[in-house]
Structure formats: C-alpha cells, structure tokens
C-alpha cells in the first residue's frame, strides 16, 4: 500500500513538473499563436479590401456577437467607406471551402482570398494554384471586377472558367460567393448604383 502511494506520488510530481513546463511554454507561445491567427485574418481582409486602410476594417456583428461582415474604410477615421468584406463558405468535393471576399460599395468584387480548403491536391486544390510566372492564383483572379450576375461557372453558362476536372470545387466557390453577395445586399439594404454605366 505504501508502495502505491509512493509511486502515485512520484507520478503526480512528474506530471505536475510537466504541466508546469508546458504552462511556461504555452505562456510564451500563446501570444505568438494568437498573433498568427490575427495576421492570417488581417492578410485575408487586406487581400479582400486592397484599398482599405489596414487599421480601418471593422467587423459588423449581430446581436449574438457573430460577425456578419466587415466594413473597410480608406482612412483610419472610418469615414470613407471603400467596401465590404464577408466570408463565403461552400461545400466542395471533400471539404468546406472558405473564401474571404471583398466588394466595393456598388457590389463589384475587388479582392478575394481562399482561407481554407481541403480539396484533392492537384485537382480541386488548383483553385489556389499560382501558375508559373504569375503572382496571383489565376482561378481567384478572374473574380475581380465581377458582379452578382457574372457569378456562374462556365458549365452553368457563366464566365468563370472552372478548374479542369474540378467543376465541383469551382462551383462551390462561385456559388458560395454569389449567395454571400446576395445576403450582404439584403443586410446592407442594397448596393449603390455604379457611378457610370460601362459603355455597351
């Protein structure tokens, strides 16, 4: 019996030492990890709203504290609204694809970044592919300048060129953005009309 107590004691001490060590390590790394998360979000928001001031992107929340969308301003005083950003989630081939999308006040897409996806490498994952010699992922780049009505993949008769052999992933991104845009439009009570009609 004494033996058991002794051993339990030793084990307990070792565990407490371990927990202590880990507590220390966690204390050191915790801010870094949080910083990383924050950075990731910030980078995404900046990619979505390239014209906004990094300090002036503010979340808009519902009564439960869930973030509905972000507003981006061109200046730190948050007076000049340049656009909105929102998170679009669509069901892809093997994962939920999360995309951060930024639109200007007229509802035109000005920035986009895929935050997370676990699609098939080499197939669906090509939605993040950067072609040799290019800077931006070609699939995402085509969304820039598009409005709600353009958001359809080629197979559904729209202008978005889907990744070859990965219509499911392509469609998931495109459709989720379109739906997000529609939701945003309702939330903010409609976009502004474009300043000038593009020449026909």
């Amino acid at each position: 019996m004494k033996d058991v107590v002794r051993m339990g004691g030793i084990l307990g001490i070792v565990t407490i030492i371990a927990a202590g060590v880990l507590g220390a390590v966690a204390n050191v790394t915790k801010p870094r990890i949080e910083e990383q998360h924050r950075l990731a979000l910030e980078r995404a928001l900046l990619a979505a709203l390239p014209t906004a001031d990094p300090r002036a992107i503010v979340p808009v929340k519902d009564e439960n504290g869930n973030i509905l969308y972000y507003k981006g301003y061109a200046d730190p005083d948050t007076t000049k609204l340049v656009g909105y950003a929102f998170l679009a989630i669509g069901k892809g081939y093997s994962s939920d694809i999360q995309t951060m999308v930024g639109v200007d006040t007229t509802g035109k897409i000005i920035g986009i970044k895929i935050l997370s996806e676990l699609e098939t490498p080499g197939l669906g994952a090509k939605i993040e592919e950067i072609r040799h010699g290019e800077k931006r992922p070609w699939f995402q780049a085509q969304f820039i300048g598009k409005t709600k009505k353009d958001l359809l993949v080629d197979k559904d008769g729209g202008p978005i060129v889907s990744v070859t052999g990965a219509t499911i992933s392509s469609r998931a991104v495109t459709n989720s953005i379109r739906k997000g845009l529609e939701r945003l439009e309702k939330l903010i009570g409609g976009f502004k009309q474009p300043a000038q009609q593009p020449a026909a």
């Binding site: 081939y93 197939l123 559904d156 070859t164 052999g165 499911i168």
Partner: protein, 349 residues
C-alpha cells in the same frame, strides 16, 4: 506383349474439353462485337486505344514472368482479356500513353504481384481503370467524341457527355428547385426537364450504342450478343448478372426519381453507363468473384446496391467499376459464408 511406357497418373483419366486458354480466348471473341462497334461509333482512335491496352497488358505479363524466371503464359489469353476490358473502360479519345500505363498497372500491381492468374484478389482491368481515374481524372471523365450518328436525341450540351452524367446534372437542378426554388433560373429548370424527358426517350440509342461513354460500354446490343454466347457456352452464369442488374433496376426505380419513391426510371439506368459490360463481363470474372452459387447471388446484390448508391448520391455519375472492386474485397468472406452443405452434413448422425 511388347515393352512400352505406360503413362501413370491419378484418376480420373478423362477430362472435359474445356481449358483455361479456350475459355479466355472465347471471352475475348465474345467481346469482339462491342469492340468493332466502338470503332464504328467513335472512329479509328478507339482501335488505337484497344491496341495499346492489349499490347501493353500482354507485354507486361510476358516481361514480368520472364524477369521472375517463371514460364511465360501469355498464350492463355487472360492478359489479353484484361487489356481488352481496360480499353473498353476508357474514353475513345484517350492519349496513347493512358491505356499503356493503365495496362502496366493492371497486370503488374493488379495481378502478377500476387502470383499471376488465379491469385489476384481484385479485378485487374477495373483496378487499371480506377488507377487511371484517380491519376488523370480529366482524361478519364471528358468524353469529347460524339458517337457516329449523333448524340442522344439532339441534346447538344457538350458533345459526347454520357447519359448518366446528363441525368445527374439535370436531376441536381430539379432537386435544387425543391429545396430553394428562388435560386434556380426558370430557364434552367425547363432545360433540365427537357433533358430528362429526352434521355428517357432515348432507349433506342442506348440499346444500339449511339451515346457517349467509354468506348466499349455503350452498345447494349453488341454486348448482349457476346454475353449470350458466353451463357450458351456456360462460361458465365446468370446468377451474378441477374442479381446485379435486378438490384440496380429495383433500387433506381425506388429511389432514382426526383418526385419521391418509385418515380425512377429503371430501364434507363439498366441500359445507360457500363452496367451491362460490368454485369456480364467484369463482375463475372471468376477469379475475383465468389466461387459458390449462394456467394454469387450475394455478390451481385452487393454490386447493385453500391452502384446505385454511387450513381444517385456519389461523387461520380457511374458506380459500376467501384462497386465491383469493392465487392471483390468481400469475396473471401462471402466464400467462407456460402460454403455448400456437405452431403450428409445436414442429416444427424
């Protein structure tokens, strides 16, 4: 009486005329009509795909046997059949290296690595196809060539899209309408409805083979011609095809429609895609299917269930290959479960 060497062996001293090579070559022959049909429907390129697949299959078998110091047995025709069936499971416009790599995989890792003919647990040709599908999905799912004589009833979405593919797309649209009508443009709904009705009218095209698809799977008529011959020769048995096709028909009738239970179109599902090829020529591969009658019934039903699951809710429009491969995995268990009763075994002693 004069001296002579009498041959001594265990009884029996008579044997049937059948031999493995005779069976295999006649299976190959019974596949010939569908192959000729493929060249007629899809053009000369289909012949090249068949040629490369067969040459690579036979060549790989011979090379491996030689390397391992075993007798070379390619004359038994089994590698030929594997190559042939692999080609039948590929689009007609495949680049030449696709059937070659597929055949090397099928024979090398699907068959010879287990010791060759008779020991492979899974269907080599289908393994070859599944390997190609996972490696180069774009080549394996794009059907550019429209069959000679036009595509189904004048639907010209994309040339040569397979009937099952079209059905799946259109039904997806109709299901979407049920969930959220606001989201789908009316014109798309109309188009989908029209497609479905056209597809369901296309039995003639499906039967003769004037539809898109893998090169050997489209003509139900030509396949049945070969199958009838094999049945007559008793090289294949009706148990697997009947239970397989029956299950597919029943389940697609029950669950295949968009308006609730029992609104599906079983005849369409039976005629479309690779079901006839799979049920008569691939699920019946004796090496990789159960050996007892009871096991064969269960095998066919299992193939049918998985095929329908994949066709209706899977990631692919077609489920025949995967269902057969998956059921191949259960064969040792089915063999164990379906042992015949030994004579006098039921009686008490």
């Amino acid at each position: 009486m004069e001296q002579r060497m009498w041959k001594v062996s265990a009884s029996p001293h008579l044997n049937d005329k059948e031999s493995i090579s005779k069976i295999m070559w006649l299976v190959a022959a019974s596949l010939a009509p569908a192959g000729i049909g493929a060249v007629y429907f899809f053009g000369a390129h289909a012949a090249w795909v068949i040629f490369w697949a067969v040459v690579a299959a036979v060549g790989t078998e011979a090379a491996i046997q030689k390397l391992m110091g075993k007798p070379v047995t390619v004359s038994d025709g089994s590698a030929f059949v594997t190559g042939l069936l692999l080609a039948y499971n590929m689009p007609a416009e495949s680049p030449f290296w696709l059937p070659i790599i597929g055949s090397i995989f099928a024979i090398g890792l699907g068959k010879q690595i287990f010791g060759g003919l008779g020991y492979n647990p899974m269907n080599p040709a289908l393994l070859g196809r599944a390997f190609l599908l996972a490696s180069w999905p774009t080549h394996m799912t794009i059907f550019k060539t429209a069959p000679h004589g036009g595509t189904i009833s004048g639907i010209d979405v994309e040339t040569g899209a397979t009937p099952l593919n079209l059905l799946k797309l259109s039904q997806d649209v109709l299901r979407q309408v049920k969930i959220n009508p606001a989201e789908v443009p009316a014109q798309k709904v109309a188009e989908a409805t029209e497609h479905i009705s056209k597809l369901y009218d296309a039995y003639g095209n499906l039967f003769w083979g004037k539809v898109g698809g893998c090169l050997g799977e489209t003509s139900v008529f030509l396949l049945l011609l070969g199958a009838a011959f094999l049945l007559y020769k008793r090289y294949i048995d009706l148990r697997i095809p009947v239970s397989y096709i029956g299950t597919v028909a029943l389940l697609t009738w029950m669950f295949g429609g968009t308006d609730g239970l029992f609104t599906g179109n079983p005849l369409f599902h039976v005629l479309a895609g690779g079901l006839i090829l799979g049920a008569f020529f691939m699920a019946t591969d004796m090496v990789t299917s159960p050996i007892t009658p009871k096991g064969q019934w269960a095998f066919g039903i299992g193939c049918g269930v998985i095929t329908v699951v994949i066709r209706l809710i899977g990631g692919y429009p077609e489920g025949v290959s995967y269902s057969i491969l998956l059921m191949n995995l259960t064969v040792p268990l089915l063999d164990r479960w379906a042992k015949p009763t030994i004579f006098g075994g039921a009686a008490k002693k």
